[in-house]
Symmetry: C2
Subunit: 200 residues, 2 copies
DNA sequence: AAAGATTGCGCAATAT
DNA sequence: AATATTGCGCAATCTT
């Protein structure tokens, strides 16, 4: 019943949403399907996996989170609120109140020396920023689309699943009927061909 | 073969990831499954749907994007780069270079009067900010988990699908075999019970 | 090495 | 009134 040549629509787009990436470690349990799966693998960009771990937002941040800690402010105590400068207008950076170089950082990377002070204001700086902003918007848009596709794909797969389950139910019942009929005839006029295992 | 009581694991968690929301307009095509689906609907938070459209980042922004425009910088021309203050330390805001109140805004909301100047520095301000920051981290973490679950769910569903397809193949073949056997017997000793339609 | 892509972060406007 | 979301820009990285 019904077109059996489904699996298309969303799935299609979804697949095209993942270029050629061969991402090493999956976010899940790597080979969760492996067995029968064929076009299963490649999926989801690990999020905080790939390698983007342990970034330093112009500051440390290592404390809070981790484990089940209920989102403690990254700058847990230490001074007061080292925050307030996470995202922006440092305008030439390094000029706000405290800078607190807490001794919680790895021995390497430490000094506040801004690598050849890329000076704000600089036309080039703005240029770079603007370009990055555009890239960021683009990237996020892409991510949103990808997520959407995955969701649609999931819904579609679930729907398909139900149909398949139904189909299996029908086939099973039909099979039982036939088996029953055959067994009847078998009792009636015992002959060849085993009924119990036709194709299994 | 294999436990047939699957469908659990990820799917379970995934479901619990969507509280009681009855989101009106879905991002997809509303009732995409509706037919056989039961626990299908509720899914994906529309993204830019609900109502969060047309925000104003302390500035206008309405130009770029829309349609296929390749992520034009929001502040397309106008003055130069009104940007540079999208995210942060305005420290009491409204004090940087240009403020450009471009006449492109709706007649309402206009004056720079910051509603009872919530003054930065204010202990309460920092308090609010910190609380929001925590909320934001929590929310994003939640979102990430949700996305991950959806992805895993999709993978699992696909895997399940393959197994079901396989099962259908087996059943179909088995059925064909039995039908063939029966037709043979039918020719041999024509009796009752139609073979062609056992359960269909 | 340089440009673009990602991603965590905080801010502010909204939504709930 | 408080928390939850979400677009945005920044900066650090990663990828190409």
């Amino acid at each position: 019943m019904m077109s059996d040549s489904r699996v298309s629509s969303v799935i299609q787009e979804w697949a095209s949403s993942y270029p050629s990436q061969a991402h090493s470690l999956n976010p899940v349990s790597s080979n969760q399907v492996a067995s029968t799966g064929q076009l299963v693998q490649m999926d989801m960009i690990p999020y905080g996996q790939t390698q983007g771990m342990m970034r330093v937002g112009t500051e440390d941040r290592v404390a809070g989170q981790m484990m089940g800690l209920p989102y403690l402010p990254y700058s847990t105590s230490c001074v007061g609120n080292t925050s307030s400068m996470g995202g922006t207008n440092h305008h030439q950076s390094h000029s706000s109140p405290q800078q607190d170089f807490s001794p919680f950082l790895l021995p390497s990377m430490r000094s506040p020396v801004p690598k050849r002070s890329i000076s704000k204001d600089s036309a080039e700086y703005r240029m770079r920023r603007e370009r990055n902003n555009i890239a960021v918007r683009k990237s996020r848009d892409k991510a949103r689309r990808r997520i959407l596709l995955t969701q649609q794909r999931a819904v579609q797969l679930q729907d398909e699943n139900q149909k398949l389950q139904l189909r299996i139910g029908q086939l099973t019942q039909e099979l039982d009927t036939l088996k029953h009929i055959l067994s009847q005839r078998h009792l009636q006029g015992g002959e060849d061909s085993a009924v119990g295992e036709a194709g299994m």
